[in-house]
Symmetry: C2
Subunit: 275 residues, 2 copies
Protein backbone atom coordinates (compact mmCIF):
# COMPACT_ATOMS: atom_id res chain seq x y z
CA UNK A 1 0.00 0.00 0.00
CA UNK A 2 1.46 3.30 -1.13
CA UNK A 3 0.38 6.34 0.89
CA UNK A 4 1.60 9.61 -0.55
CA UNK A 5 2.49 11.21 2.80
CA UNK A 6 5.13 8.56 3.50
CA UNK A 7 5.85 6.87 0.17
CA UNK A 8 5.89 9.74 -2.32
CA UNK A 9 8.87 12.06 -1.85
CA UNK A 10 9.01 15.56 -3.33
CA UNK A 11 9.76 15.36 -7.06
CA UNK A 12 7.87 12.12 -7.66
CA UNK A 13 5.04 12.49 -10.19
CA UNK A 14 1.65 10.76 -9.92
CA UNK A 15 2.70 8.57 -12.83
CA UNK A 16 5.85 7.52 -11.00
CA UNK A 17 3.89 6.98 -7.78
CA UNK A 18 1.46 4.66 -9.57
CA UNK A 19 4.32 2.71 -11.15
CA UNK A 20 6.06 2.53 -7.77
CA UNK A 21 2.97 1.06 -6.09
CA UNK A 22 3.12 -1.82 -8.58
CA UNK A 23 6.94 -2.03 -8.34
CA UNK A 24 6.63 -2.66 -4.59
CA UNK A 25 4.66 -5.85 -5.36
CA UNK A 26 6.85 -6.85 -8.30
CA UNK A 27 9.84 -6.63 -5.96
CA UNK A 28 8.23 -9.08 -3.53
CA UNK A 29 7.51 -11.47 -6.39
CA UNK A 30 11.10 -11.11 -7.62
CA UNK A 31 12.50 -12.24 -4.30
CA UNK A 32 10.10 -15.18 -4.23
CA UNK A 33 11.13 -16.15 -7.77
CA UNK A 34 7.57 -16.00 -9.06
CA UNK A 35 6.43 -14.44 -12.31
CA UNK A 36 3.47 -12.15 -11.55
CA UNK A 37 0.38 -12.69 -13.66
CA UNK A 38 -1.96 -9.82 -12.86
CA UNK A 39 -2.67 -7.01 -10.43
CA UNK A 40 -5.58 -5.09 -8.92
CA UNK A 41 -5.50 -1.53 -7.66
CA UNK A 42 -7.55 -0.04 -4.83
CA UNK A 43 -7.35 3.70 -5.19
CA UNK A 44 -8.10 6.29 -2.52
CA UNK A 45 -8.38 9.78 -4.05
CA UNK A 46 -8.80 13.12 -2.36
CA UNK A 47 -12.04 14.97 -2.83
CA UNK A 48 -11.41 17.50 -5.61
CA UNK A 49 -8.63 15.44 -7.23
CA UNK A 50 -7.74 16.79 -10.67
CA UNK A 51 -8.65 14.86 -13.78
CA UNK A 52 -5.07 15.07 -15.06
CA UNK A 53 -3.77 13.48 -11.87
CA UNK A 54 -6.07 10.50 -12.35
CA UNK A 55 -4.92 10.22 -15.97
CA UNK A 56 -1.31 10.28 -14.78
CA UNK A 57 -2.01 7.49 -12.31
CA UNK A 58 -3.54 5.43 -15.12
CA UNK A 59 -0.42 6.03 -17.23
CA UNK A 60 1.72 4.76 -14.38
CA UNK A 61 -0.35 1.57 -14.17
CA UNK A 62 0.05 1.11 -17.91
CA UNK A 63 3.82 1.66 -17.63
CA UNK A 64 3.99 -1.01 -14.95
CA UNK A 65 1.80 -3.43 -16.86
CA UNK A 66 4.02 -3.17 -19.95
CA UNK A 67 7.32 -3.12 -18.14
CA UNK A 68 6.76 -6.29 -16.14
CA UNK A 69 4.29 -8.03 -18.46
CA UNK A 70 1.55 -8.16 -15.85
CA UNK A 71 -2.17 -7.68 -16.53
CA UNK A 72 -4.10 -4.89 -14.81
CA UNK A 73 -7.40 -6.67 -14.16
CA UNK A 74 -9.48 -4.48 -11.87
CA UNK A 75 -9.78 -2.67 -8.61
CA UNK A 76 -11.79 -0.22 -6.58
CA UNK A 77 -12.04 3.56 -6.22
CA UNK A 78 -12.67 5.47 -3.01
CA UNK A 79 -12.44 8.87 -1.39
CA UNK A 80 -9.75 9.42 1.24
CA UNK A 81 -7.67 12.15 2.84
CA UNK A 82 -4.39 10.83 1.37
CA UNK A 83 -3.61 9.51 -2.06
CA UNK A 84 -3.69 5.75 -1.50
CA UNK A 85 -2.60 3.23 -4.13
CA UNK A 86 -2.91 -0.32 -2.90
CA UNK A 87 -1.71 -2.94 -5.33
CA UNK A 88 -2.52 -6.63 -4.99
CA UNK A 89 -0.68 -9.00 -7.24
CA UNK A 90 -1.33 -12.58 -8.22
CA UNK A 91 1.03 -15.16 -9.69
CA UNK A 92 1.28 -18.93 -9.81
CA UNK A 93 4.26 -21.06 -8.89
CA UNK A 94 5.18 -24.57 -7.98
CA UNK A 95 7.84 -23.39 -5.58
CA UNK A 96 8.35 -20.16 -3.69
CA UNK A 97 11.69 -19.11 -2.19
CA UNK A 98 10.99 -18.81 1.53
CA UNK A 99 12.55 -16.51 4.11
CA UNK A 100 13.16 -19.48 6.34
CA UNK A 101 15.38 -21.73 4.23
CA UNK A 102 18.88 -20.50 5.10
CA UNK A 103 21.31 -22.92 6.77
CA UNK A 104 24.57 -22.08 8.58
CA UNK A 105 27.67 -21.53 6.45
CA UNK A 106 25.93 -20.42 3.30
CA UNK A 107 26.80 -17.23 1.44
CA UNK A 108 24.74 -14.07 1.71
CA UNK A 109 24.35 -12.24 -1.58
CA UNK A 110 22.66 -9.08 -2.85
CA UNK A 111 21.55 -8.18 -6.36
CA UNK A 112 23.23 -4.79 -6.26
CA UNK A 113 24.75 -1.96 -4.26
CA UNK A 114 22.92 -0.27 -1.42
CA UNK A 115 22.77 3.37 -0.38
CA UNK A 116 21.52 4.87 -3.64
CA UNK A 117 17.91 5.22 -2.53
CA UNK A 118 18.71 6.60 0.90
CA UNK A 119 21.13 9.05 -0.75
CA UNK A 120 18.42 9.98 -3.26
CA UNK A 121 15.97 10.67 -0.46
CA UNK A 122 18.52 12.85 1.32
CA UNK A 123 19.04 14.77 -1.92
CA UNK A 124 15.29 15.19 -2.56
CA UNK A 125 14.14 15.87 0.99
CA UNK A 126 17.13 17.41 2.78
CA UNK A 127 18.89 19.03 -0.17
CA UNK A 128 22.08 17.03 0.34
CA UNK A 129 24.87 17.83 -2.15
CA UNK A 130 26.05 15.34 -4.76
CA UNK A 131 28.05 15.38 -7.95
CA UNK A 132 25.83 15.35 -11.01
CA UNK A 133 26.18 11.73 -12.15
CA UNK A 134 25.58 10.27 -8.72
CA UNK A 135 22.73 12.67 -8.08
CA UNK A 136 20.94 11.42 -11.20
CA UNK A 137 21.47 7.76 -10.32
CA UNK A 138 20.46 8.19 -6.68
CA UNK A 139 17.33 10.20 -7.50
CA UNK A 140 16.35 7.74 -10.25
CA UNK A 141 16.58 4.84 -7.82
CA UNK A 142 13.96 6.62 -5.70
CA UNK A 143 11.66 7.82 -8.48
CA UNK A 144 11.93 4.83 -10.81
CA UNK A 145 12.83 1.79 -8.77
CA UNK A 146 13.78 -1.32 -10.77
CA UNK A 147 12.92 -4.53 -8.98
CA UNK A 148 15.03 -7.50 -10.04
CA UNK A 149 12.26 -9.59 -11.56
CA UNK A 150 14.19 -11.47 -14.26
CA UNK A 151 17.07 -12.10 -11.90
CA UNK A 152 14.84 -13.34 -9.10
CA UNK A 153 13.06 -15.79 -11.37
CA UNK A 154 16.32 -17.02 -12.94
CA UNK A 155 18.09 -17.52 -9.61
CA UNK A 156 15.22 -18.88 -7.50
CA UNK A 157 16.44 -22.46 -7.89
CA UNK A 158 19.82 -21.57 -6.37
CA UNK A 159 18.63 -19.57 -3.37
CA UNK A 160 17.97 -21.24 -0.03
CA UNK A 161 16.18 -18.14 1.25
CA UNK A 162 15.47 -14.69 -0.14
CA UNK A 163 13.62 -11.47 0.58
CA UNK A 164 13.34 -8.09 -1.03
CA UNK A 165 15.06 -5.25 0.77
CA UNK A 166 12.38 -2.56 0.65
CA UNK A 167 12.42 -2.04 4.44
CA UNK A 168 16.20 -1.64 4.40
CA UNK A 169 19.15 -4.01 4.34
CA UNK A 170 19.44 -4.29 8.13
CA UNK A 171 15.80 -5.34 8.66
CA UNK A 172 16.04 -7.72 5.72
CA UNK A 173 19.13 -9.46 7.13
CA UNK A 174 17.54 -9.69 10.56
CA UNK A 175 14.32 -11.12 9.16
CA UNK A 176 16.14 -13.79 7.13
CA UNK A 177 18.26 -14.69 10.17
CA UNK A 178 15.26 -14.89 12.51
CA UNK A 179 13.06 -16.83 10.16
CA UNK A 180 15.82 -19.28 9.27
CA UNK A 181 17.24 -19.66 12.77
CA UNK A 182 20.76 -18.66 11.69
CA UNK A 183 23.10 -15.74 12.27
CA UNK A 184 24.52 -13.51 9.56
CA UNK A 185 28.04 -12.08 9.50
CA UNK A 186 28.55 -9.31 6.95
CA UNK A 187 32.19 -8.99 5.80
CA UNK A 188 31.72 -6.34 3.21
CA UNK A 189 28.91 -3.82 2.94
CA UNK A 190 27.39 -3.69 -0.56
CA UNK A 191 28.43 -0.08 -0.86
CA UNK A 192 30.34 1.49 -3.76
CA UNK A 193 32.75 4.42 -3.88
CA UNK A 194 30.05 6.77 -5.13
CA UNK A 195 27.99 6.28 -1.97
CA UNK A 196 31.12 6.54 0.17
CA UNK A 197 32.04 9.87 -1.41
CA UNK A 198 28.49 11.17 -1.04
CA UNK A 199 28.45 10.11 2.62
CA UNK A 200 31.77 11.80 3.31
CA UNK A 201 30.83 15.03 1.55
CA UNK A 202 27.59 15.39 3.51
CA UNK A 203 28.72 14.07 6.85
CA UNK A 204 26.63 10.87 6.74
CA UNK A 205 27.92 7.43 7.60
CA UNK A 206 28.07 4.96 4.73
CA UNK A 207 26.74 2.27 7.06
CA UNK A 208 23.72 4.37 7.84
CA UNK A 209 23.05 4.86 4.13
CA UNK A 210 23.56 1.23 3.16
CA UNK A 211 22.03 -0.56 6.13
CA UNK A 212 19.23 1.54 7.47
CA UNK A 213 17.80 3.44 4.51
CA UNK A 214 15.01 1.37 3.01
CA UNK A 215 13.32 1.84 -0.34
CA UNK A 216 15.94 -0.29 -2.09
CA UNK A 217 14.31 -2.89 -4.29
CA UNK A 218 17.15 -5.39 -4.31
CA UNK A 219 17.07 -9.10 -3.55
CA UNK A 220 18.94 -10.31 -0.48
CA UNK A 221 19.43 -14.07 -0.55
CA UNK A 222 21.39 -16.99 0.85
CA UNK A 223 23.01 -19.57 -1.35
CA UNK A 224 25.13 -22.69 -0.93
CA UNK A 225 28.75 -22.05 -1.87
CA UNK A 226 28.75 -24.68 -4.62
CA UNK A 227 25.90 -22.85 -6.44
CA UNK A 228 27.65 -19.49 -6.52
CA UNK A 229 29.63 -19.79 -9.80
CA UNK A 230 26.59 -20.91 -11.76
CA UNK A 231 24.36 -18.24 -10.15
CA UNK A 232 26.93 -15.58 -10.98
CA UNK A 233 27.01 -16.72 -14.59
CA UNK A 234 23.24 -16.47 -14.85
CA UNK A 235 23.28 -13.05 -13.18
CA UNK A 236 26.04 -11.80 -15.46
CA UNK A 237 23.95 -12.70 -18.49
CA UNK A 238 21.29 -10.37 -17.05
CA UNK A 239 23.96 -7.71 -16.54
CA UNK A 240 23.83 -8.04 -12.78
CA UNK A 241 26.85 -8.39 -10.53
CA UNK A 242 25.83 -10.72 -7.71
CA UNK A 243 27.62 -9.39 -4.62
CA UNK A 244 28.72 -11.70 -1.81
CA UNK A 245 28.42 -9.67 1.36
CA UNK A 246 28.92 -12.30 4.04
CA UNK A 247 27.83 -15.69 5.32
CA UNK A 248 25.38 -17.36 7.62
CA UNK A 249 26.47 -18.69 11.01
CA UNK A 250 25.08 -20.92 13.74
CA UNK A 251 24.53 -18.00 16.10
CA UNK A 252 20.77 -17.80 15.68
CA UNK A 253 19.51 -14.25 15.22
CA UNK A 254 22.94 -12.60 15.58
CA UNK A 255 23.55 -10.17 12.71
CA UNK A 256 26.91 -8.45 12.68
CA UNK A 257 29.27 -6.44 10.53
CA UNK A 258 33.02 -7.05 10.41
CA UNK A 259 34.70 -3.70 10.97
CA UNK A 260 38.47 -3.50 11.13
CA UNK A 261 39.25 -6.26 13.63
CA UNK A 262 35.89 -6.18 15.44
CA UNK A 263 32.41 -7.59 14.97
CA UNK A 264 29.78 -4.91 15.43
CA UNK A 265 26.08 -5.71 15.83
CA UNK A 266 23.83 -4.57 13.02
CA UNK A 267 20.72 -3.03 14.58
CA UNK A 268 17.26 -4.17 13.67
CA UNK A 269 16.13 -0.78 12.49
CA UNK A 270 14.91 0.88 9.32
CA UNK A 271 11.69 2.48 8.20
CA UNK A 272 8.98 1.95 10.82
CA UNK A 273 5.48 3.34 10.41
CA UNK A 274 3.54 4.95 13.24
CA UNK A 275 6.70 5.57 15.25
CA UNK B 1 -11.28 -0.77 0.11
CA UNK B 2 -13.01 0.41 3.25
CA UNK B 3 -12.34 4.04 4.24
CA UNK B 4 -13.84 4.99 7.58
CA UNK B 5 -15.04 8.44 6.50
CA UNK B 6 -17.42 6.94 3.92
CA UNK B 7 -17.80 3.28 4.86
CA UNK B 8 -18.00 3.29 8.64
CA UNK B 9 -21.23 4.86 9.94
CA UNK B 10 -21.66 6.04 13.53
CA UNK B 11 -22.23 3.07 15.80
CA UNK B 12 -19.96 0.68 13.89
CA UNK B 13 -17.06 -0.67 15.97
CA UNK B 14 -13.53 -1.25 14.65
CA UNK B 15 -14.19 -4.96 14.92
CA UNK B 16 -17.31 -4.63 12.77
CA UNK B 17 -15.46 -2.38 10.31
CA UNK B 18 -12.72 -4.99 9.88
CA UNK B 19 -15.30 -7.73 9.35
CA UNK B 20 -17.17 -5.52 6.89
CA UNK B 21 -14.03 -4.91 4.82
CA UNK B 22 -13.76 -8.67 4.32
CA UNK B 23 -17.54 -9.05 3.84
CA UNK B 24 -17.34 -6.62 0.89
CA UNK B 25 -15.03 -9.09 -0.90
CA UNK B 26 -16.96 -12.17 0.20
CA UNK B 27 -20.06 -10.59 -1.31
CA UNK B 28 -18.34 -10.22 -4.68
CA UNK B 29 -17.23 -13.86 -4.53
CA UNK B 30 -20.77 -14.91 -3.60
CA UNK B 31 -22.22 -13.31 -6.71
CA UNK B 32 -19.55 -14.96 -8.86
CA UNK B 33 -20.30 -18.34 -7.28
CA UNK B 34 -16.70 -18.81 -6.14
CA UNK B 35 -15.58 -20.09 -2.77
CA UNK B 36 -12.91 -17.73 -1.44
CA UNK B 37 -9.68 -19.33 -0.30
CA UNK B 38 -7.67 -16.61 1.42
CA UNK B 39 -7.38 -12.87 1.93
CA UNK B 40 -4.76 -10.18 2.50
CA UNK B 41 -5.27 -6.90 4.32
CA UNK B 42 -3.53 -3.61 3.65
CA UNK B 43 -4.09 -1.43 6.66
CA UNK B 44 -3.77 2.35 6.86
CA UNK B 45 -3.75 3.52 10.48
CA UNK B 46 -3.80 7.04 11.88
CA UNK B 47 -0.72 8.22 13.71
CA UNK B 48 -1.48 7.75 17.42
CA UNK B 49 -3.94 4.91 16.83
CA UNK B 50 -4.79 3.15 20.10
CA UNK B 51 -3.56 -0.35 20.76
CA UNK B 52 -7.08 -1.53 21.61
CA UNK B 53 -8.34 -0.34 18.22
CA UNK B 54 -5.73 -2.42 16.43
CA UNK B 55 -6.66 -5.43 18.57
CA UNK B 56 -10.32 -4.87 17.66
CA UNK B 57 -9.44 -4.80 13.98
CA UNK B 58 -7.57 -8.09 14.37
CA UNK B 59 -10.63 -9.60 16.08
CA UNK B 60 -12.76 -8.52 13.15
CA UNK B 61 -10.39 -10.25 10.72
CA UNK B 62 -10.54 -13.39 12.84
CA UNK B 63 -14.36 -13.20 12.89
CA UNK B 64 -14.38 -12.98 9.11
CA UNK B 65 -11.86 -15.77 8.68
CA UNK B 66 -13.94 -18.13 10.82
CA UNK B 67 -17.33 -17.10 9.52
CA UNK B 68 -16.54 -17.64 5.85
CA UNK B 69 -13.80 -20.26 6.20
CA UNK B 70 -11.20 -18.11 4.48
CA UNK B 71 -7.52 -17.91 5.46
CA UNK B 72 -5.96 -14.60 6.51
CA UNK B 73 -2.53 -14.95 4.88
CA UNK B 74 -0.83 -11.56 5.09
CA UNK B 75 -0.85 -7.91 4.27
CA UNK B 76 0.78 -4.58 4.87
CA UNK B 77 0.62 -1.79 7.45
CA UNK B 78 0.91 1.93 6.80
CA UNK B 79 0.23 5.34 8.24
CA UNK B 80 -2.62 7.38 6.77
CA UNK B 81 -5.06 10.16 7.66
CA UNK B 82 -8.10 7.85 7.49
CA UNK B 83 -8.57 4.35 8.74
CA UNK B 84 -8.13 2.29 5.57
CA UNK B 85 -8.81 -1.44 5.39
CA UNK B 86 -8.20 -2.82 1.94
CA UNK B 87 -9.01 -6.48 1.55
CA UNK B 88 -7.83 -8.58 -1.41
CA UNK B 89 -9.32 -12.01 -1.76
CA UNK B 90 -8.25 -15.03 -3.76
CA UNK B 91 -10.27 -18.05 -4.81
CA UNK B 92 -10.12 -20.66 -7.55
CA UNK B 93 -12.92 -21.68 -9.87
CA UNK B 94 -13.52 -23.41 -13.15
CA UNK B 95 -16.41 -21.12 -13.99
CA UNK B 96 -17.33 -17.64 -12.85
CA UNK B 97 -20.83 -16.19 -13.21
CA UNK B 98 -20.37 -13.15 -15.44
CA UNK B 99 -22.27 -9.88 -15.51
CA UNK B 100 -22.69 -10.22 -19.23
CA UNK B 101 -24.56 -13.51 -19.59
CA UNK B 102 -28.22 -12.44 -19.41
CA UNK B 103 -30.48 -13.06 -22.43
CA UNK B 104 -33.89 -11.49 -23.12
CA UNK B 105 -36.93 -13.03 -21.43
CA UNK B 106 -35.13 -14.46 -18.44
CA UNK B 107 -36.23 -13.84 -14.86
CA UNK B 108 -34.52 -11.33 -12.60
CA UNK B 109 -34.15 -12.54 -9.02
CA UNK B 110 -32.72 -11.24 -5.76
CA UNK B 111 -31.51 -13.15 -2.71
CA UNK B 112 -33.54 -11.01 -0.31
CA UNK B 113 -35.45 -7.84 0.40
CA UNK B 114 -33.94 -4.42 -0.15
CA UNK B 115 -34.22 -1.22 1.87
CA UNK B 116 -32.96 -2.52 5.21
CA UNK B 117 -29.46 -1.09 4.89
CA UNK B 118 -30.58 2.30 3.62
CA UNK B 119 -33.15 2.41 6.43
CA UNK B 120 -30.44 1.43 8.90
CA UNK B 121 -28.20 4.24 7.66
CA UNK B 122 -31.06 6.74 8.01
CA UNK B 123 -31.60 5.53 11.57
CA UNK B 124 -27.88 5.71 12.46
CA UNK B 125 -27.00 8.94 10.66
CA UNK B 126 -30.21 10.97 10.48
CA UNK B 127 -31.97 9.65 13.58
CA UNK B 128 -34.99 8.36 11.61
CA UNK B 129 -37.70 6.74 13.73
CA UNK B 130 -38.48 3.05 13.57
CA UNK B 131 -40.29 0.46 15.64
CA UNK B 132 -37.95 -1.58 17.74
CA UNK B 133 -37.86 -4.86 15.79
CA UNK B 134 -37.30 -3.19 12.45
CA UNK B 135 -34.76 -0.84 13.94
CA UNK B 136 -32.68 -3.79 15.15
CA UNK B 137 -32.88 -5.60 11.81
CA UNK B 138 -32.10 -2.49 9.75
CA UNK B 139 -29.16 -1.45 11.93
CA UNK B 140 -27.82 -5.02 11.99
CA UNK B 141 -27.85 -5.14 8.19
CA UNK B 142 -25.53 -2.12 8.23
CA UNK B 143 -23.24 -3.16 11.07
CA UNK B 144 -23.08 -6.90 10.37
CA UNK B 145 -23.76 -7.47 6.70
CA UNK B 146 -24.30 -11.10 5.66
CA UNK B 147 -23.18 -11.78 2.12
CA UNK B 148 -24.93 -14.76 0.52
CA UNK B 149 -21.90 -16.96 0.09
CA UNK B 150 -23.48 -20.42 0.40
CA UNK B 151 -26.39 -19.37 -1.75
CA UNK B 152 -24.19 -17.87 -4.44
CA UNK B 153 -22.06 -21.00 -4.68
CA UNK B 154 -25.07 -23.31 -4.70
CA UNK B 155 -26.96 -21.35 -7.37
CA UNK B 156 -24.08 -20.38 -9.66
CA UNK B 157 -24.90 -23.15 -12.12
CA UNK B 158 -28.43 -21.80 -12.62
CA UNK B 159 -27.61 -18.11 -13.06
CA UNK B 160 -26.97 -16.65 -16.51
CA UNK B 161 -25.57 -13.45 -14.97
CA UNK B 162 -25.14 -12.16 -11.43
CA UNK B 163 -23.68 -9.31 -9.44
CA UNK B 164 -23.66 -8.25 -5.83
CA UNK B 165 -25.75 -5.22 -4.98
CA UNK B 166 -23.35 -3.26 -2.80
CA UNK B 167 -23.63 -0.10 -4.93
CA UNK B 168 -27.43 -0.24 -4.75
CA UNK B 169 -30.11 -2.16 -6.60
CA UNK B 170 -30.56 0.45 -9.35
CA UNK B 171 -26.88 0.53 -10.34
CA UNK B 172 -26.72 -3.25 -10.16
CA UNK B 173 -29.69 -3.68 -12.52
CA UNK B 174 -28.26 -1.09 -14.90
CA UNK B 175 -24.85 -2.75 -14.92
CA UNK B 176 -26.27 -6.22 -15.63
CA UNK B 177 -28.46 -4.76 -18.41
CA UNK B 178 -25.58 -2.83 -20.00
CA UNK B 179 -23.06 -5.63 -19.79
CA UNK B 180 -25.52 -8.20 -21.13
CA UNK B 181 -27.08 -5.98 -23.80
CA UNK B 182 -30.61 -6.51 -22.47
CA UNK B 183 -33.28 -4.40 -20.80
CA UNK B 184 -34.77 -5.12 -17.38
CA UNK B 185 -38.40 -4.59 -16.43
CA UNK B 186 -39.05 -4.72 -12.69
CA UNK B 187 -42.62 -5.76 -11.84
CA UNK B 188 -42.29 -5.90 -8.12
CA UNK B 189 -39.74 -4.14 -5.93
CA UNK B 190 -38.06 -6.50 -3.45
CA UNK B 191 -39.46 -4.45 -0.59
CA UNK B 192 -41.38 -5.76 2.42
CA UNK B 193 -44.08 -4.18 4.58
CA UNK B 194 -41.55 -3.27 7.26
CA UNK B 195 -39.60 -1.05 4.90
CA UNK B 196 -42.85 0.40 3.52
CA UNK B 197 -44.04 1.32 7.02
CA UNK B 198 -40.67 2.84 7.90
CA UNK B 199 -40.68 4.88 4.68
CA UNK B 200 -44.20 6.14 5.32
CA UNK B 201 -43.53 7.06 8.95
CA UNK B 202 -40.42 9.09 8.07
CA UNK B 203 -41.59 10.61 4.79
CA UNK B 204 -39.17 8.61 2.60
CA UNK B 205 -40.16 6.86 -0.59
CA UNK B 206 -39.91 3.08 -0.53
CA UNK B 207 -38.45 3.18 -4.03
CA UNK B 208 -35.69 5.46 -2.87
CA UNK B 209 -34.89 3.10 -0.01
CA UNK B 210 -34.97 -0.07 -2.09
CA UNK B 211 -33.41 1.11 -5.35
CA UNK B 212 -30.92 3.81 -4.54
CA UNK B 213 -29.55 2.99 -1.10
CA UNK B 214 -26.49 0.82 -1.55
CA UNK B 215 -24.67 -1.20 1.10
CA UNK B 216 -26.98 -4.19 0.58
CA UNK B 217 -24.97 -7.37 0.18
CA UNK B 218 -27.54 -9.33 -1.79
CA UNK B 219 -27.13 -11.17 -5.07
CA UNK B 220 -29.03 -9.89 -8.09
CA UNK B 221 -29.13 -12.45 -10.88
CA UNK B 222 -30.86 -13.55 -14.05
CA UNK B 223 -32.08 -17.08 -14.59
CA UNK B 224 -33.88 -19.03 -17.28
CA UNK B 225 -37.50 -19.69 -16.34
CA UNK B 226 -37.08 -23.46 -16.46
CA UNK B 227 -34.36 -23.33 -13.78
CA UNK B 228 -36.42 -21.35 -11.29
CA UNK B 229 -38.20 -24.20 -9.43
CA UNK B 230 -34.94 -26.07 -8.83
CA UNK B 231 -33.10 -22.90 -7.81
CA UNK B 232 -35.89 -22.02 -5.39
CA UNK B 233 -35.66 -25.48 -3.83
CA UNK B 234 -31.93 -25.12 -3.32
CA UNK B 235 -32.40 -21.62 -1.88
CA UNK B 236 -35.15 -22.79 0.46
CA UNK B 237 -32.82 -25.43 1.89
CA UNK B 238 -30.48 -22.53 2.77
CA UNK B 239 -33.44 -20.69 4.29
CA UNK B 240 -33.47 -18.07 1.57
CA UNK B 241 -36.56 -16.96 -0.32
CA UNK B 242 -35.45 -16.27 -3.88
CA UNK B 243 -37.53 -13.28 -5.01
CA UNK B 244 -38.54 -12.83 -8.64
CA UNK B 245 -38.61 -9.08 -9.23
CA UNK B 246 -38.99 -8.89 -13.00
CA UNK B 247 -37.62 -10.04 -16.30
CA UNK B 248 -35.11 -9.16 -18.98
CA UNK B 249 -36.26 -7.64 -22.30
CA UNK B 250 -34.80 -6.95 -25.73
CA UNK B 251 -34.66 -3.20 -25.09
CA UNK B 252 -30.92 -2.98 -24.51
CA UNK B 253 -30.03 -0.86 -21.49
CA UNK B 254 -33.59 0.14 -20.62
CA UNK B 255 -34.30 -0.45 -16.94
CA UNK B 256 -37.80 0.31 -15.77
CA UNK B 257 -40.25 -0.24 -12.94
CA UNK B 258 -43.90 -1.12 -13.49
CA UNK B 259 -45.95 1.32 -11.44
CA UNK B 260 -49.73 1.15 -11.54
CA UNK B 261 -50.35 1.09 -15.30
CA UNK B 262 -47.11 2.87 -16.32
CA UNK B 263 -43.48 2.00 -16.90
CA UNK B 264 -41.16 4.37 -15.08
CA UNK B 265 -37.44 4.55 -15.80
CA UNK B 266 -35.16 3.46 -12.98
CA UNK B 267 -32.31 5.95 -12.74
CA UNK B 268 -28.69 4.88 -12.86
CA UNK B 269 -27.87 6.34 -9.49
CA UNK B 270 -26.66 5.21 -6.11
CA UNK B 271 -23.57 5.77 -4.04
CA UNK B 272 -20.94 7.65 -6.06
CA UNK B 273 -17.59 8.62 -4.58
CA UNK B 274 -15.94 11.99 -5.17
CA UNK B 275 -19.25 13.57 -6.21
Amino acid sequence: MLVDRTDVPPGMSYRQAARKAVAMCVSDFSAKGVKPDSFLISLGLRSGVRREDVVELAEGFRDASREWGVKFVGGDTNESADLIVDCSMVGFAGRVVARSGAKPDQLVVTSGYFGYSSSGLKILIKGAKARRGFRAAAVASVLNPHPRLKLGIALAKYFSSAMDSSDGLAITLHTLAERSGVGIRVDKLPCDDEVRMFAKRNGFSEEELALYGGEEYEIVATIERRHLPKARDVAARLDVDLLVIGRTTKESGVVSLKKDQREERILRKGWVHLS
